[in-house]
Amino acid sequence: MIEIVDLWKSFRDNHVLKGITLSIRDRETFVVLGGSGSGKTVLMKHVIGLLKPDRGKVEVDGVEITALEGKALTEARQRFGMVFQGAALFDSMTVLENVAFPLRERRGRKVPSAEIRGRVVEKLAVVDLGEEVLERWPSELSGGMRKRVALARALVSEPRIVLYDEPTTGLDPITTEYVDEMIIHARERLGITSMVISHDIASAFRVADRVGVLYDGHLAAVGTPAEVRSSPDPFVQKFLSTWFAKQ
């Protein structure tokens, strides 16, 4: 379970988060919707301890992530997988090396080298990529393939929680639907808790158990997709109406 309590964050005079409080339940897919620059990525980076809040805290399974430093924080991060907006594949490594990275670097339960390739191939198959991509460099992949490799890398160490930063941005409709199915699959078959940040309303409503709409540093609405759609908040109505008007 992820508990975000009264989280505040500013960058100089820019007040990005203004007292966010939110609970994400186990095995739930929670989508944070919001416009560009609304602080979605900043919120997500607090959950995995990449940023420290000015005030407030984040607890994951009862462990206060925001209070951890050094080795303790590093160990706490082992329960996470994260898919970055631009995939963030290591461009000096092949696809095989990228996906194998979390396995090779994992502390404690080391995966034998002989098993690593098999595990990588298995996870690539989950995202519909074959062995022919193993020795390719990230620069040789299309945008959709890069996202799928990033997804395989996030899932390969079988984390309990996966964070998705704008997973469908820049993808064509078919690949977008494919990535959505992957997120649903991760929850239904692997029992993964997911936090997705997005401004893609269609995708958000497809994958979410619950949705939160972030505006001006606050959560303007939180609930199931149906509840959020009927929210009386003027920003939420305006934000959603642009998409629903097209349907």
Binding site: L50, R77, F84, D91, S92, F101, P102, L163
Partner: protein
């Protein structure tokens, strides 16, 4: 005033970064393969440019000294004077400047690109310290390779001076070698190599910091690289002056 304050803040952050690098250097896992890869990039990759610079510096220095010393009939001291200047001053400073231009700029660009494309964040999210994985190997490799490259510069510089002195300036071999033996001691070589270690530490910390702290996309990476090269070059010259004052006296 604001720019001075920002520069001081940046300098302070770099000092904290350096302390963190030292702390991570002594924590397992030790990444020998990464260190070897960086030694190959910083050392073997820079050997050609350092060798060429050393050879020409030695040749030119010997010819200039020969021209000056001929007026006092002291050509026999050309070899010794060149070796003395190379080992204490020219080799460590020129080597550090050349490696900054070739490898330091590449380090700042590579880490900067990794930072702005979130590869550094990705590494951190996978429970791996980017400082330990990316920065420590580059710093250790620099500490090892800067003195080795300086020795290469010394050797090829003296070889260049020998060729010019003996075959072009027609200085007799006996006095050339004898005065070199008299003028150059192990402490002179050690003096230069000590400086090389200091320069290696400065250049590696400055260039990795500029990459690690890069912001703002391609332009930010470019600016970071420029600042890395300029700051490293100034740091080399300042440290050289400070070390010379400390070792030799003002």
């Amino acid at each position: 005033m604001i720019r001075i304050r920002a520069a001081l803040e940046d300098f302070g952050q770099m000092l904290f970064f350096a302390v963190e690098v030292v702390a991570w250097a002594f924590r397992p896992p030790f990444r020998f393969d990464q260190v070897l890869a960086q030694m190959a990039f910083i050392g073997a990759g820079s050997a050609f440019i350092v060798g060429v610079t050393g050879s020409f510096a030695g040749m030119v220095f010997a010819l200039q000294l020969n021209y000056a010393m001929k007026q006092f009939a002291a050509e026999g001291y050309v070899g010794g004077s060149t070796a003395f200047a190379l080992s204490r001053e020219l080799a460590p400073v020129f080597t550090a400047l050349m490696v900054t231009g070739r490898a330091g700029s590449a380090i700042a660009t590579e880490l900067g690109t990794m930072r702005v494309t979130e590869q550094v964040d990705a590494m951190e999210s996978m429970a791996v310290s980017p400082i330990q994985y990316l920065v420590v190997p580059r710093v250790i490799a620099s500490l090892i390779m800067f003195p080795i490259l300086t020795m290469l510069f010394d050797a090829l510089g003296f070889a260049g001076a020998y060729v010019m002195g003996i075959f072009v300036a027609r200085i007799p071999v006996g006095p050339f070698i004898e005065h070199t033996r008299q003028m150059l001691g192990p402490e002179d070589i050690f003096h230069g190599l000590s400086k090389a270690v200091v320069f290696g530490a400065l250049v590696s910390i400055i260039t990795t910091w500029r990459g690690y702290s890069a912001t703002g996309g391609a332009r930010g990476v470019g600016e970071g690289t420029t600042r890395a090269v300029v700051a490293s070059s100034i740091a080399i010259l300042l440290a050289d002056y400070a070390a010379t004052v400390i070792f030799v006296g003002g």
